[in-house]
Amino acid sequence: MAHAVEKHPVTGIPANPEKATLEGKNKYVAFWFFLGGETVLFASLFGTYVGLLNSGAPEELRSYNIFEMGLVFLMTMLLLTSSLTSVLAMMNMKANNPGRMKFWLVITLLLGAGFLGAEIYEFIHYYHIGHTFTSSAFGSAFYTLVGFHGAHVTFGLLWITTLLIRNWNRPIDVYNAPKFYVSSLYWHFIDVVWVFIFSIVYLLGMVS
């Protein structure tokens, strides 16, 4: 769009650079709809998981006997913190501080990678004790739900990394701000899903 965008006197970019252009606004609205769809997607996976919880698994491979709550707690902390650092990055983006934005995004990526590493370790551990994708309906449902989340984390890491590399030497403007903003929305969403996984998969699994 050709029309000039009102710039903030101090920061030199618009107050909300991610929504300053029509393209940015479109992306912003579209992404919320997308997340709406993703919510239904995970709701379906949660429903399946609850329906198949411990189904077909022998006693020693039931949720309450296998889950490593210490590790899961660590993963939860990593991901929650990464959500916080992602907020800090966005605040710096709006304040037109590209350096600090990049710093917090890198921290976010590191925390996310730490989470992913812990999850892979967790899966390998379960695999060795016999709780696998094909060992029972419970196994299939567990890996599908948690694995879908893990795949989302992986995609988020790749996405933010690409954005960072591409825009490393470029200023924050109304063209790349929506991209950063939307990726951070995605990251928060992943985090919220994890909170539900923590409660429904792990906590419910421990008490069932």
């Binding site: 050709a2 606004k25 579209a30 997308f34 429903g47 329906g51 309906a137 299939s140």
Partner: protein, 628 residues
């Protein structure tokens, strides 16, 4: 620096490359429409083969296995590859014009949506050439669909998955387009009904497709990667698939029917020359239907054994949908009341829709009565019911829309004379095919049977039904002739071809320029073109001076993204037989997709500008032509 060069040189192609790379919603609409018609023909041929097998008892025209493949492919093709794409075609071709926009919100994603649908459809139909088509019904109930030898179901799971991603993208795109791209003055409650129904149907897509996505993933994991969600021996539960499928499946019915309602709500006021009766109620009825559509899926599962409480609740919830639907029927009737009704083919279909759909609605209420459904369920009564709804509603709507918008989309009109033949043949054939099936069901004939025994009371009705199907077949041939004839004819239509046009799309020159509106229109109310005409104006008011117009660049990336998923999907299927070939295809396919995504993200594409001078010249040419 990169920006300026990109802006100065629009990326354009000619011929087939133009169609492959286009991001113009009008062209994508045409792609959707013709792909949809192609699949409609395939599904129609399958239907005729089905009816031919059932023409007499114990016929052996096809085997039980082939028959099951035919019914599965008929249902899947008609719903996912014919009806939905044709509706997307009209949505693409018309909705941006109706709201005074120059394009959809995401032209690139629009193209991606089309190619995903297309490759998904191709993949599904490739199954015929790789041994076997899916054979577990379009509902693909597990564990029938998870039997290892039912290899066609692999193509079902992956083909629908890929085309489903496309539908999801189209849905989000239309939601944002309608929310953000409206011309000045086009308030929500001034939007034409087709735009409204597109909006609600798109919302349904966004919230209804994910359960199908999950279901299809599970089906794929179970068939190809050893998961056991549906295997009772491993603790699995076969009902989970049914729930996921119908949580998607019921809203899907409204995804199809609501846009058809929208089409009728455009055509009926146009040819009755009367404003839509109860516009506000119509909008809210649409939203209510969409909302209730998510609350009723269990009525497809009354016989599953979920218990009397669940059955009662869902029975009553289902009945509730009849209320907003009935409101719509009366509103259409009272739009006609006091009007100046002109009967052309588009209007004939719209008028014929009312009683046909009414019968489908009546049997719908009857089916919602859970204890009665124990008799109807999975019998020919259900087949009759949903064909009355989907053919009498959606297909009539598609045909009506085709005759109505064909001049807008192609600058040429379909022959009304051939159209009358097509309509009457179809109308007669339709009722002759499906009305007797109500009785077949009540007489005790289950659906999806490849044959039936003599002397059980099924012969006459099946014979009638088959005769009717061939009427519809002939009608479709007439339609094709009409389309070919229109393309061969040299006679071009004028803007506002029907002369009674009420909405913005009829203000545009034919053929519509790529930027649609030289100047964004200023909308003054519902049916703004009609208001302007009544005020004695030849053209609608504009909201801006002539200026440079920003346009998106064509792109081949959507094609490759979809192609990559297509290759990876084939690989996932082939890895069962040959791990090396299969996994290499998966890797290559996903690599193509991810590299395409990466390129899309990496390369800045700011589009280009059409200079003001070009637009002024266009405007001048149009005015001169119009003044002649």
């Amino acid at each position: 620096m990169a920006q300026t060069t990109a802006l100065q040189q629009p990326r354009k192609y000619n011929g087939i490359m133009d169609w492959v790379t286009t991001v113009d919603h009008k062209k994508i609409g045409i792609l959707y429409l013709f792909s949809g018609i192609f699949f409609l023909l395939l599904g129609g041929i399958e239907a005729l083969l089905i009816r031919w097998q059932l023409v007499r008892p114990m016929n052996d025209f096809v085997s039980g296995e082939t028959f099951n493949q035919l019914i599965t492919m008929h249902g899947t093709t008609m719903i996912f590859l014919a009806a939905m794409p044709m509706l997307f075609g009209f949505m693409n071709a018309v909705v941006p014009l109706q709201i005074g926009a120059r394009d959809v919100a995401f032209p690139f994603i629009n193209s991606l949506g089309f190619w995903l649908f297309f490759f998904g459809g191709v993949m599904l139909n490739l199954s015929w050439f790789f041994g076997a088509a899916p054979n577990a019904g379009w509902t693909a109930y597990a564990p029938l669909s998870t039997q290892p030898e039912a290899s066609g179901v692999d193509f079902y799971a992956l083909g629908l998955q890929i085309s489903g991603f496309g539908s999801l993208m189209a849905g989000i795109n239309f939601l944002v387009t309608i929310l953000n791209m409206r011309a000045p003055g086009m308030k929500l409650m001034r939007m034409p009904l087709f735009t409204w129904t597109t909006f609600v149907a798109s919302a349904l897509i966004v919230f209804a497709f994910p359960p199908l996505t999950v279901g299809l993933f599970m089906l794929m994991f179970e068939r190809l990667f050893g998961a056991v969600y549906f295997d009772p021996a491993m603790g699995g539960n076969v009902i989970i698939w049914e729930h996921l499928f119908w949580i998607f499946g019921h809203p899907e019915v409204y995804i199809l029917i609501l846009p058809a309602f929208g089409i009728f709500s455009e055509i009926i006021p146009t040819f009755a020359r009367k404003r839509l009766f109860g516009y506000t109620t119509m909008v809210f009825a649409t939203m209510l239907i969409g909302f209730l559509g998510f609350m009723v899926w269990v009525h497809h599962m009354f016989t599953v054994g979920l218990g009397p409480v669940a059955n009662s609740i869902f029975a009553v919830a289902t009945m509730a949908i009849a209320v907003p639907t009935g409101v719509k029927i009366f509103n259409w009737l009272f739009t006609l009341w006091g009007g100046q009704i002109k009967f052309n083919v588009a209007m004939l279909y719209s008028v014929a829709f009312i009683p046909s759909f009414l019968v489908g609605g009546m049997t719908g209420v009857m089916l919602s009565v859970a204890p009665a459904d124990y008799q109807y369920h999975d019998s020919y009564f259900v087949v009759a019911h949903f064909h009355y709804v989907i053919v009498g509603g959606v297909v009539y709507g598609l045909f009506a829309g085709l005759y109505y918008w064909f001049p807008l989309m192609f600058g040429k009109a379909l022959s009304e004379k051939l159209g009358y033949w097509q309509f009457w043949l179809f109308f007669i054939g339709f009722h002759l095919t499906f009305f007797p099936q109500h009785f077949l069901g009540l007489f005790g004939m289950p659906r999806r049977v490849f044959t039936y025994l003599p002397n059980q009371g099924f012969e006459t009705m099946n014979l009638l039904s088959t005769i009717g199907a061939f009427f519809m077949g002939v009608s479709t041939i007439v339609l094709l002739v009409a389309v070919v004839k229109a393309f061969l004819s040299k006679q071009r239509v004028k803007p506002d071809h029907w002369e009674d046009g009420r909405t913005l799309e009829w203000t545009l020159p034919v053929p519509t320029p790529e930027y649609n509106f030289a100047q964004t229109p200023l909308v003054k109310g519902l049916d703004t073109f009609w208001l302007e005409k009544m005020a004695g104006n030849k053209r609608v008011s504009v909201a801006e001076p002539v200026a440079d117009i920003h346009m998106p660049n064509n792109s081949i990336i959507p094609f490759f993204m979809s192609l990559g998923l297509f290759i990876a999907g084939l690989g996932a299927i082939f890895q069962m037989d040959n791990a090396v070939v299969g996994w290499s295809l998966i890797v290559v396919g996903l690599l193509i997709t991810f590299v395409s995504m990466f390129l899309r993200s990496w390369i800045d594409d700011h589009g280009f500008y059409i200079p003001k001078s070009k637009i002024e010249a266009d405007l001048k040419a149009i005015r001169e032509k119009g003044d002649q």
